[in-house]
């Protein structure tokens, strides 16, 4: 379970969110919704200690530094070493060592061998996204963060990704942000809305039909 207490983040005098409390149970997919600039990515940055913040964030009672190897994030723009091959990126960006056979077996489900041997600068946006997915699969995290991660995926990959997320959710806690409501609506368990410097947890979201667009219109617009 991810437990957040008294979380406050501000840049100078600009408060992004103030005294936020929430919990995300294990084995659930949580979705954070909000307008552009509401602080969705900032919230992820705080959860991952990429930004300084005030408050307390615990992963099953432990601080991030004790669970770093169990945490992985998939970014929209997929940071990769463009000057190196896909295989070398996998080797350098994985938090834990993985056997070559396992890397190949997993990677080939997403990208062919010749693509993985080529430098990433020759990849299309979709291929970079797939390489990001390979890293996520091989990382086997307990806590997975998705920052607009479904953007740019083709239909088939998106469908596969959705199934993969559902499968992963049996063992992982997944926190996603983004605007692709159709993609996330069928799979999310918990909905959070960032609005006016606070975070609203819609506990009856599933019972109310689980429509993200409706929730967006009702609570944000």
């Amino acid at each position: 379970m991810i437990t957040v207490k008294h979380l406050t983040k501000s840049y100078g005098n600009h408060v992004v969110f103030k005294d936020v409390h929430f919990e995300i149970p294990n084995g659930k997919i949580a979705f954070v919704m909000g307008e552009n600039g509401a602080g969705k990515t900032t919230l992820l940055k705080c959860l991952l200690n990429l930004e300084s913040y005030r408050g307390e964030i615990r992963y099953d009672g432990k601080p991030l530094q004790d669970v770093r190897r169990d945490v992985h994030i998939l970014y929209d723009d997929v940071p990769l070493y463009l000057n190196l091959s896909g295989y070398k990126n996998i080797e350098l960006l994985l938090a834990r060592p993985v056997k070559t056979e396992q890397i190949k077996e997993t990677a080939h489900a997403f990208l062919p061998d010749e693509v993985l041997k080529a430098k990433v600068k020759t990849y299309s946006y979709g291929q970079k996204k797939k390489l990001g997915l390979i890293l996520a699969v091989l990382s086997k995290p307990k806590y997975l963060f998705l920052d607009e991660a479904s953007n740019g995926l083709d239909y088939d990959t998106m469908e596969d990704f959705r199934k993969t997320l559902l499968n992963w959710a049996k063992q992982m806690t997944i926190i996603a942000t983004g605007h692709q409501f159709e993609f996330y609506a069928p799979i999310i368990d918990e909905l959070f809305i960032l609005k006016e410097k606070s975070l609203i947890h819609l506990k009856r979201f599933k019972e109310e039909g689980g429509d993200l667009i409706e929730a967006y219109k009702k609570y944000i617009k």
Binding site: T41, L48, N49, E51, R68, H72, I73, L80, Y81
Partner: protein, 324 residues
């Protein structure tokens, strides 16, 4: 234990990146090429000096002068400053002067001088330039590719920085040691080659070994670590490569010494204490600074730079936007 394991793991990855990206190979090739170039220049210098000597000897013979007597007499060189600040040399005994120049050129090519000559040539101009840029590169390549965003989740920020900084030092140590190890046989080869063209046993000059090569090696490493730290810290603070690189190139090439506490001046003070500069490279005469101060101040500078860079980095966002 956990800290050491994390840092060692990151050092391994840093080395792998530097190998995969050919950055380490590029640095090593550049340093080795400069070293070989110096040894080649020394050989050409010895050949030129010998030609000058032969020319003077022919002149002496043509004028019926006693060669042996001239070679046993002092050369008596007087230096006079020209109107434009340069020096003019007035040589009384040209033959002896040319003989001494050949002897000196041959002496510094001997096996026991190769390492000294290599360090002397590289340490004061090329190492500061190359390794500042190198430190800057190691600090910033993860900013360029935005991969800090992934690494900073996997590893504590200061573990990552410490691993990078240690990688810089270890790789520099490797580059310098391997360069010296390869320069030695190259120097021997050039000496053997010139032995075929010049009767080396006819030229005797006792140029004393004034300083131990170990001190020279340690000073060279000190200079490398000093300037690579400067580059590394600038990279961490500015999170980009180009602007600090340009600033440093301007500082290195265009700006004169900024007083006696300028790093370059203190390095020059130490340089003149440990090297004699008989070879191709002549180090600028520094403004006097007590040697202990010239050692302590750069060390303090390295520590303060590192602490300041880490302190600033802790407060900066790790969600880097990516720029070079």
């Amino acid at each position: 234990m956990k800290l050491i394991k994390s840092i060692l793991n990151n050092i391994g990855k840093e080395f792998k990146y530097l190998v995969y990206s050919y950055a380490l190979l590029l640095i090593f090739t550049a340093v080795l090429a400069l070293s070989v170039w110096n040894l080649y220049l020394q050989m050409k210098q010895a050949e030129n000096n010998y030609q000058e000597y032969l020319h003077s000897r022919a002149e002496y013979e043509k004028q019926g002068m006693d060669i042996e007597k001239a070679l046993h007499a002092p050369s008596d060189v007087q230096k006079q400053e020209n109107g434009n600040g340069s020096e003019i040399e007035f040589v009384d005994n040209v033959l002896k002067y040319d003989y001494d120049n050949v002897s000196k050129a041959l002496t510094i090519m001997r096996a026991n001088r190769i390492l000294t000559q290599t360090l002397e040539w590289l340490s004061f101009f090329f190492f500061p330039l190359i390794f500042t840029i190198y430190g800057l590169y190691v600090a910033t390549y993860d900013f360029k590719y935005k991969t800090y965003r992934i690494k900073a989740v996997q590893t504590a920020w200061y573990h990552l920085l410490l691993a990078k900084q240690l990688t810089v030092y270890l790789s520099i140590l490797a580059v310098v040691v391997v360069t010296l190890a390869l320069s030695y046989p190259v120097g021997l080869f050039f000496y053997r080659r010139i032995s075929g063209n010049i009767p080396i046993h006819d030229f005797h000059l006792n140029v004393p070994m004034e300083h131990h090569v170990l001190w020279q090696f340690l000073l060279s490493l000190f200079i490398c670590f000093l300037f690579s730290t400067l580059g590394f810290c600038a990279g961490v603070v500015f999170q980009r490569f180009s602007a600090p690189a340009i600033l440093f190139v301007v500082y290195h090439f265009l700006i004169p010494f900024l007083g006696k506490y300028d790093l370059r001046n203190m390095v020059a003070v130490l340089g003149h204490k440990v090297f004699s500069f008989y070879g191709n490279f002549q180090l600028v005469k520094p403004v006097a600074v007590p040697v202990p101060l010239a050692i302590v101040l750069p060390i303090v500078f390295v520590i303060v730079c590192t602490l300041a860079a880490y302190g600033i980095a802790m407060k900066q966002s790790k969600y880097v936007k990516g720029h070079f």
